[in-house]
C-alpha cells in the first residue's frame, strides 16, 4: 500500500470490512496526482467510492472546523431522481471520517428556501444536473461562487455523451475550466463500445487516464418462452399472453424489476399483474417518468427497503440508484441493444460479487429470435458505441443567451471558450457569426426580423440581455429535453383540486371527452374536466379504458443486435435451430420459408404483394428502424422520379414496407440502381423535403433555440394565444428565411440521428453486395405481417397535389356509390384468426354489394 493513497480511503474501506478493488486504488492514486480521467466499470461495482474517496483524500483532509468547507466539488448526475440517493451515498463517509464537508442538492425539484440558502453560500459538494448547472452559471456572481471548485465528477457519462444534454455539459465545463485551469474532471461510465471517445469528449482539449474496472460479475441471461407461438407475429400481441409465466417468475423471487420499453406498456402490465394477483395490491408498484415525484419517491424507497415484491418500470429505473434487494430483472419486449440489456441486467445483484440475472420476455414471435441473438451478442461482447453530437447550433444559441445573462460576454473571448468544448472544436467562423446575429436580431439581415432582439452589446461591447421579460423566459427554458405540452393529472375535489398523479401529453387527452376512462398511474380514471392545463379525474370502475401513448422516442434495434438476428435466421435457413428459442420459432420460420424465403447474411429478401389496399413491397435489410426509414424514403423518392406515385411507408427493426394505391412495377425497378450510393446525400435530402421528417425534427430544435416557449407555469389562458406549433414555425422559416441555419440543423439531425446516414450508406453498400431474393407472395408472410399492421406511417408523394386530392375524393365517391371499393381496416382480423385471406365481398351481377356479407370496417363517409 502506498503512502500517498492509503490513509483516508483505505481507512474507510477497512472500517467497513471491504477490500478495495485494483481499479479503485488506481483512481485514488490518479486523483492524488491531480489527473483527470474516465472510470468504466459495470453497474454496482463501486465506481462512486472510487472517485469520491479520491476527491476527499485530496481536498477534504485539511477542512477546518467551524463552517463547512466552501464549494470544492460538483457531482453531475443525469437524472433528478438520482440526486437524492447520490447525496446520501456521498454523505456516508463524511461523518465517519470526521470531515467538515457539507453535501447539497440543486435540481429542478429544489425548493426556494434551499435555493436562497445556496444563493448565500454553496455547500462543499453540490449534486446537480447539467441543466441546473447551466442555470447556476447564469448567476451574475457565478465566477466568485465557483472560485473554490477543484473537482467535477460526471456520473453516468454514457447517458449524456451521445445527446445534447452532454453538449450542454461540455459548454459548462469549458466555462469552469476557463476559470479553473487545474480543475480535475472524472467521468463514470457503464459499458460502451468506444470508451476512448467518451474520454476524449469529456476532457477535451486535455487528456486523462482511462481506468477500466474489471470486476468479474457473474451474469445470467435467459428467456421466458411460451409453449407455443403464433405464426403471425403482431407487435405487442404476444405480450400479455406471457402473463401467467411472468407471475410465476415474480412469485419465486423476493424482489423483481419488470422493465418495459414504453410507459403505456408499463401501465398495461401493471394492471394485468394486479388483475392476475389481486393479493399483490400494495406489494407491486409502477414507476415511469410521467408519474408524480412523490409517487416515484415512494416506489424507490419501497424498493430500497425491500418492501416491494415487484416494480413495473421503464428506463426511469435504468440508472444509478442502488436497489440492493432486487433479485431478478425481467425485460418485456426487445432489449433493443446489448449495452442497454447489460445495464438493465446490472440492476439485479447490484453489489460486488453478486450474480446479475435478466430474463427476456418476448412480446411477439420475432422477439424470440432476438432473445437468442441477444444472448449470442452478449457472449461475444459486441457492445454499441455512442458518438457525441457535432456542433448543434440550437444548443449554441441557447448557450449564447445564457452567457449574456451571466454578466455578459465578449464574442472573441466566448468563441475561444466554446471551441474548448469537443463538439464545437471545429466551429466555423461563419456559424459563430450567424449564431451571434441570430440572438441579436434574429438573422443576418436586419430587415427580416423587425422589433426583435434577445441579446444586445452595450456601449463597452459587452453582450447582455436587455429585457427582463426575455431573461425570465430564457431561464425557464434552459435545457435540451423536449417534450410535448403536458397536462397535470389531478383528482377532482369539491373544494378545488386534489392530489396530483403525474402528467400526460396534450395530444392524448385531446382524444378523450369527459366521462371517458383511461389507465394512468396504475389506476382506472374517469375524465371529469380539463381546465387550465390540468386534467381532473375521478376513480372509475368500468372495464374499458384507453391507455395514454406518450410520444417518447422509439429506440431502434442496434446494428450489433440486428446482425446477430440475421445470423440466427441464416442458421435457421441452413436447417440449424440451436437453443430453445430457435426451436420454438421453427414453425414460424418454416411458414416464412415455404411462402417466401428466409433472409440470411448473403441475400436481400424482398416480397411483392398485391392486396385490396394496393401494391406492397416488403424489404428486409435488418438495419434498425431509423435506417429503414431513410432507406424507404430514398426508394420511394427514386421510384417517384420514374413515375408519379404516392407511397405510404411503414418500418420496423427488421424491414420496411412501401404501399402505393396505384400499380408499381417493383420487380422491374429493383434491379436498376435503386440501391446505388451515387448522389446519396442529394437524394436523401430530396426525399426529406418531400416528406414530413425534417418538420418533426424541427420541433426539438425550435424549443432548444428558444423559438417555441412552453409557457409560464399557471399562466392565464391568454398565454395560450402566444403559443404556436413548431410545425407552423418550420413552414414560416422555410418560406421566408430559407437560409436559416436552424433549418439546416434540422436536416442534418434528421440525416444523422433519424436516418443514420452513415449507417444507411453502409447498409446500401452491403445490400448491393447481396443477392436480391425477390418473391411474389400471395398473402403476407410472418415477416411482412408486423409491417402490414403498423399504424404509424410516413408518406411520400411525387404526384401533383391536385391529382392526389382528385383520386381520394373520387375514391370516397366510389365508396359511397354502388359496388365500389370498400375501405378496408388493414388485414388484422383476417390474419389474427390465421384463416385464409378474406375474400373480396362478392358483388351481385349489377355490381352492388350483397347486403349480408358486408366487409367489416368503418362506414364509408358520404
Amino acid at each position: 500500500m502506498s503512502e500517498a493513497t492509503g490513509l483516508l480511503s483505505e481507512r474507510w474501506f477497512a472500517r467497513r470490512g471491504w477490500q478495495p478493488f485494483a481499479f479503485q486504488r488506481e483512481v485514488w492514486q490518479a486523483v492524488a496526482a491531480g489527473e483527470s480521467g474516465l472510470l468504466h466499470a459495470s453497474t454496482g461495482s463501486g465506481k462512486t467510492y472510487a472517485v469520491w474517496l479520491g476527491a476527499l483524500q485530496r481536498f477534504a483532509t485539511d477542512a477546518a472546523p467551524g463552517q463547512p468547507a466552501p464549494l470544492a466539488a460538483l457531482w453531475i448526475t443525469p437524472m433528478r431522481a438520482l440526486a437524492a440517493d447520490t447525496a446520501r451515498a456521498l454523505q456516508a463517509p463524511l461523518g465517519e471520517l470526521g470531515l467538515n464537508w457539507s453535501v447539497g442538492l440543486r435540481t429542478g425539484d429544489t425548493d426556494s428556501a434551499e435555493r436562497a440558502r445556496q444563493g448565500r453560500r454553496l455547500p462543499s459538494v453540490l449534486v446537480t444536473t447539467p441543466e441546473s448547472l447551466t442555470l447556476l452559471l447564469t448567476r451574475a456572481d457565478a465566477r466568485q461562487a465557483f472560485a473554490g471548485l477543484r473537482m467535477l465528477i460526471v456520473d453516468e457519462w454514457h447517458e449524456l455523451l451521445g445527446n445534447k444534454r452532454g453538449v450542454q455539459l461540455q459548454l459548462a465545463l469549458a466555462r469552469l475550466r476557463q476559470w479553473q485551469p487545474a480543475l480535475i474532471v472524472w467521468g463514470l461510465s457503464a459499458t460502451l463500445g468506444n470508451l476512448p471517445h467518451a474520454l476524449e469528449v469529456l476532457l477535451h482539449p486535455g487528456r486523462g487516464r482511462l481506468v477500466e474496472g474489471r470486476v468479474d460479475k457473474p451474469l445470467v441471461i435467459d428467456s421466458l418462452l411460451p409453449e407455443r407461438i403464433e405464426r403471425f407475429p403482431w407487435a405487442g400481441h404476444l405480450g400479455l399472453r406471457m402473463l401467467p409465466q411472468v407471475v410465476a417468475e415474480l412469485d419465486g423471487a423476493a424482489t423483481s424489476l419488470v422493465f418495459t420499453n414504453t410507459r403505456s406498456q408499463a401501465e398495461l402490465w401493471y394492471q394485468a399483474l394486479l388483475d392476475a394477483r389481486p393479493d399483490w395490491a400494495g406489494l407491486i408498484a409502477l414507476h415511469h417518468g410521467s408519474l408524480a415525484r412523490e409517487v416515484r419517491d415512494w416506489v424507490e424507497l419501497g424498493l430500497k427497503e425491500g418492501r416491494l415484491k415487484a416494480v413495473v418500470c421503464t428506463s426511469s429505473l435504468d440508472l444509478g440508484v442502488d436497489f440492493l434487494p432486487v433479485e431478478r430483472v425481467l425485460q418485456i419486449g426487445s432489449p433493443k441493444g446489448v449495452a442497454r440489456l447489460l445495464q438493465r441486467a446490472g440492476r439485479s445483484g447490484h453489489a460486488p460479487g453478486r450474480t446479475s440475472r435478466v430474463t427476456l420476455v418476448p412480446t411477439h414471435s420475432l422477439e424470440v429470435i432476438e432473445a437468442a441473438a441477444a444472448q449470442q451478442a452478449v457472449a461475444e461482447r459486441r457492445i454499441e458505441a455512442r458518438e457525441a453530437p457535432q456542433q448543434p447550433l440550437d444548443v449554441l444559441v441557447q448557450h449564447l443567451v445564457s452567457m449574456a445573462l451571466a454578466g455578459g460576454f465578449r464574442p472573441a473571448d466566448l468563441l475561444g471558450e466554446v471551441r474548448q468544448a469537443w463538439s464545437y472544436r471545429q466551429l466555423p467562423e461563419g456559424h459563430w457569426q450567424w449564431a451571434l446575429a441570430f440572438v441579436r436580431h434574429g438573422g443576418e439581415s436586419l430587415t427580416a426580423y423587425p422589433d426583435y432582439q434577445r441579446v444586445e452589446p452595450d456601449a463597452s461591447g459587452l453582450w447582455k440581455v436587455p429585457s427582463r421579460r426575455v431573461a425570465l423566459r430564457h431561464r425557464m427554458s434552459i435545457g435540451t429535453i423536449v417534450s410535448d405540452a403536458s397536462l397535470t393529472v389531478k383528482f377532482w375535489a369539491k373544494s378545488g383540486s386534489g392530489r396530483s398523479l403525474g402528467s400526460v401529453e396534450e395530444g392524448f387527452i385531446a382524444r378523450l371527452r369527459p366521462g371517458d376512462c383511461f389507465l394512468f398511474a396504475g389506476r382506472l380514471l374517469e375524465l371529469v374536466r380539463v381546465e387550465n392545463m390540468t386534467i381532473y379525474v375521478n376513480r372509475a370502475s368500468g372495464r374499458k379504458a384507453a391507455v395514454p401513448r406518450w410520444n417518447g422516442g422509439r429506440m431502434p434495434l442496434s446494428s450489433e443486435l440486428a446482425d446477430a438476428v440475421v445470423e440466427q435466421l441464416g442458421a435457421a435457413g441452413r436447417g440449424c435451430f440451436a437453443g430453445a428459442e430457435m426451436r420454438l420459432v421453427q414453425p414460424l420460420l418454416e411458414v416464412q420459408r415455404d411462402w417466401s424465403a428466409l433472409p440470411n447474411e448473403t441475400t436481400l429478401l424482398a416480397e411483392v404483394l398485391k392486396s385490396r389496399e394496393g401494391w406492397h413491397l416488403f424489404l428486409y435489410p435488418f438495419a434498425g428502424r431509423h435506417v429503414h426509414l431513410g432507406l424507404a424514403s430514398l426508394l420511394a423518392w427514386r421510384m417517384g422520379r420514374r413515375q408519379p406515385v404516392s407511397f405510404s411507408i411503414a418500418v420496423n427493426d427488421y424491414g420496411l414496407e412501401l404501399l402505393a394505391p396505384t400499380e408499381v412495377d417493383w420487380p422491374g425497378a429493383l434491379g436498376e440502381g435503386l440501391f446505388s450510393t451515387d448522389d446519396l446525400l442529394h437524394d436523401v435530402l430530396a426525399s426529406l423535403h418531400a416528406g414530413e421528417l425534417a418538420r418533426r425534427r424541427f420541433r426539438e430544435i425550435a424549443r432548444i433555440a428558444g423559438l417555441v416557449f412552453s409557457g409560464y407555469p399557471g399562466a392565464q389562458k391568454s398565454a395560450r394565444q402566444l403559443q404556436a406549433s413548431s410545425g407552423l414555425f418550420f413552414d414560416v422559416f422555410r418560406q421566408y428565411d430559407p437560409g436559416n441555419l436552424l433549418l439546416n440543423q434540422a436536416e442534418e439531425e434528421v440525416l444523422r440521428q433519424e436516418l443514420e446516414l452513415d449507417r444507411l450508406r453502409q447498409t446500401l453498400e452491403r445490400l448491393q453486395q447481396r443477392r436480391l431474393d425477390l418473391r411474389q407472395v400471395r398473402r403476407p408472410t410472418p415477416l411482412a405481417f408486423p409491417l402490414l399492421v403498423e399504424r404509424f406511417r410516413e408518406s411520400l408523394s411525387s404526384e401533383k397535389l391536385a391529382d392526389r386530392i382528385r383520386r381520394m375524393v373520387a375514391e370516397l365517391d366510389q365508396a359511397a356509390g354502388p359496388g365500389g371499393y370498400q375501405p378496408e381496416p388493414a388485414a388484422v382480423p383476417a390474419v389474427e384468426r390465421e384463416a385464409p385471406r378474406a375474400r373480396r365481398p362478392r358483388a351481385r351481377k349489377d355490381g352492388r354489394p350483397r347486403q349480408k356479407k358486408k366487409a367489416p370496417g368503418p362506414t364509408p363517409r358520404p
Binding site: 441570430f438 434574429g442 438573422g443 430587415t447 427580416a448 426580423y449 423587425p450 422589433d451 426583435y452 432582439q453 434577445r454 429585457s467 421579460r469 426575455v470 423566459r473 430564457h474 389496399e613 394496393g614 401494391w615 404516392s646 407511397f647 405510404s648 404501399l659 402505393a660 394505391p661 396505384t662 428558444g706 423559438l707 417555441v708 416557449f709 391568454s718 394565444q721 402566444l722 404556436a724 406549433s725 410545425g727 407552423l728 414555425f729 414560416v732 422559416f733 418560406q735 421566408y736 428565411d737 436559416n740 406511417r793 408518406s795 397535389l801 391536385a802 392526389r804 386530392i805 382528385r806 383520386r807 381520394m808 375524393v809 375514391e811 370516397l812 371499393y821 375501405p823 363517409r861 358520404p862
Partner: protein, 217 residues
C-alpha cells in the same frame, strides 16, 4: 381549375373561393376569417425570432382577391390582429400602405377573441368595428360559431381542416369550408395559423381547399 364554387345557402348565392375566402355576389362583399395580422411581430416582441413576410403575403393575397372579384366591401370575421404586441410599427405601416391603395373599399371587422385582447385596429385604417353578430341579409356574421336564433351564422374561429383518406393508407390534411344547417365556418385566411380537424356529418358539408382549387366532398 375551380378557383371558386358557387353554392346556395339560405337561397342566397355564395362563392367559396380556393384562396380561403368567401364572396357574396349580391352584396359585392368579400368575407375573410382569422387573418391574424401581426402574429409574427408579436412573437418577435416576446423574444422569439420569426422572419417577417407573413403580413406582406396576406396583403398580397387580399390584393389578388380584390383584383379578381368586384368587391365593394371586405368583412373580417374576427381575429384581425393577433395580440396586443401586434400593434408593431412595421405591421401597422404595411397595413396603412395597403389601405391607401384601396381607399374606396368599405372595411368591416367583427370582433373576435383575439381582437378583444389585442384592441381595435387604429382608426386611421378606417375599419368599422362591430361586436358579433352583424346581421346582413339572411346571415349573422360572427367570429365564434355559436348558433343564432333567427339567422344562419357565418363564422371563423375554429380554423377548420379535414383529413382526407384514400386507398393505400394515403391521407392529406387540407383547410376547408364547413357548411352546416345553422352555422357555417370559413377556413382561416392567415398564412401563419394552425388548423383544427373537422369531419363531415349529417347536415354538414365540407369543401376542401387545396392546390388552387376547391373540392366538394
Amino acid at each position: 381549375m375551380t378557383a371558386h364554387l358557387a353554392i346556395d345557402l339560405c337561397t342566397t348565392e355564395l362563392w367559396l373561393l380556393a384562396d380561403k375566402a368567401l364572396y357574396w355576389p349580391q352584396q359585392q362583399a368579400l368575407l375573410v376569417a382569422d387573418i391574424h395580422f401581426g402574429k409574427a411581430a408579436a412573437y418577435r416582441r416576446l423574444g422569439q425570432p420569426v422572419p417577417s413576410g407573413t403580413t406582406e403575403t396576406n396583403l398580397a393575397r387580399l390584393d389578388a382577391l380584390l383584383a379578381r372579384y368586384p368587391a365593394r366591401r371586405l368583412i373580417f370575421l374576427g381575429d384581425f390582429l393577433h395580440a396586443p404586441e401586434s400593434h408593431a410599427p412595421s405591421t401597422l405601416a404595411r397595413l396603412a400602405a395597403w389601405r391607401s391603395r384601396h381607399a374606396g373599399l368599405r372595411l368591416t371587422l367583427i370582433r373576435g377573441n383575439h381582437d378583444r385582447r389585442a384592441g381595435d385596429p387604429p382608426a386611421g385604417l378606417g375599419i368599422e368595428v362591430h361586436s358579433e353578430p352583424l346581421l346582413l341579409g339572411p346571415f349573422a356574421l360572427q367570429h365564434e360559431p355559436a348558433p343564432h336564433p333567427t339567422h344562419h351564422v357565418l363564422a371563423g374561429h375554429l380554423h377548420p381542416a379535414h383529413r382526407l383518406r384514400g386507398r393505400g393508407r394515403q391521407s392529406l390534411r387540407l383547410p376547408c369550408f364547413c357548411i352546416g344547417e345553422r352555422v357555417s365556418l370559413l377556413p382561416a385566411f392567415g398564412d401563419f395559423t394552425g388548423t383544427a380537424e373537422v369531419d363531415a356529418g349529417p347536415g354538414r358539408r365540407l369543401f376542401l381547399v387545396g392546390d388552387g382549387e376547391i373540392w366538394p366532398l
